[in-house]
């Protein structure tokens, strides 16, 4: 392992100003420990991340509809059925949207 960067260099790396250290820092346990000692922001990022990455309200419904539509395609159904080791007929039953009676 190449020489370990000093604290000043590690702080520069934290600020994104020493990308040449990426390779070392990415694999060095000792530098990871040093960095942990240098830096431990208290901020709770969860609320902001949750808010920024919030799924749309109707995502689940849309994904279910899209998956159902996709497997209506006979080739896809045959593919899925073969992957599952079941017959195409079973495959179709499996993918009938909920609430629809046979």
């Amino acid at each position: 392992m190449a020489r370990h960067p000093n604290k000043r260099q590690l702080l520069q790396w934290l600020d994104g100003e020493a990308d040449e250290l990426d390779e070392h820092v990415d694999t060095c346990e000792r530098c990871a420990r040093t960095l942990e000692g240098l830096e431990s922001p208290e901020a709770d990022l969860r609320p902001a991340l949750l808010s920024l990455l919030a799924p749309p309200d109707d995502l689940e419904q849309r994904i279910n509809d899209r998956i159902a539509a996709r497997v209506q395609d006979r080739r896809d159904m045959a593919l899925f059925s073969s992957l599952l080791g079941v017959s195409v007929e079973t495959g179709r039953v499996v993918f009938e949207p909920r609430g629809r009676t046979a």
């Binding site: 990415d26 830096e39 922001p41 902001a48 949750l50 808010s51 920024l52 994904i63 998956i67």
Partner: protein
């Protein structure tokens, strides 16, 4: 107890994990329509591969690994298609009820800070801060060394925390 049918397994993947899958996808691709495509692909891939899932990691970290990889390859394909980042799809309307309570200015700074991180760091910070995964679980899920998880997380947290200054809900 009877084994769940494949349809039930698929339903459960969507019901239990879709939100986490979407968040990881969105944090990497930064476009809501594309994140939805990635979420669908990742869930279908995982569902098809379920018979080969050996339970060596949790189902969730396995699924989120598939999601991260799908998001990265989707992004790469998009970039090759367009060559020009300006042609990437516009960010869609992201305002949700939750988001409306957030001060828009600081949220923009936060969004920009997240965007300034590399894709691996974005996934790492989401898996840690939002999904609450342990370091070794993240290391396994993203197939990167443990020090990478720790140090990228520190750097990401520093960047995001700085952008968050002044924003308190």
């Amino acid at each position: 107890m009877t084994e769940p049918t494949p349809a039930e397994q698929l339903e459960e993947l969507v019901r239990e994990h879709l939100d986490a899958v979407y968040r990881v996808a969105f944090s990497v691709v930064r476009d809501s329509a594309l994140a939805e495509d990635v979420a669908q692909d990742a869930i279908l891939k995982a569902w098809k591969a379920l018979p080969t899932f050996r339970g060596e990691s949790s189902l969730r970290s396995w699924l989120l690994r598939i999601t991260h990889n799908t998001a990265i390859s989707t992004l790469r394909r998009r970039r090759e298609e367009y060559r020009d980042p300006d042609l990437l799809p516009e960010h869609e309307q992201l305002i949700t009820t939750e988001k409306k309570v957030v001060d828009t200015m600081s949220m923009n700074a936060f969004e920009e800070a997240l965007e300034s991180l590399d894709e691996l760091s974005r996934s790492i910070v989401v898996l840690r801060e939002v999904e609450g995964m342990a370091y070794d679980e993240i290391s396994e899920a993203l197939d990167v060394p443990l020090p990478t998880v720790k140090t990228r997380l520190l750097r990401a947290r520093r960047t995001l925390a700085a952008a968050l200054e002044g924003w308190r809900p």
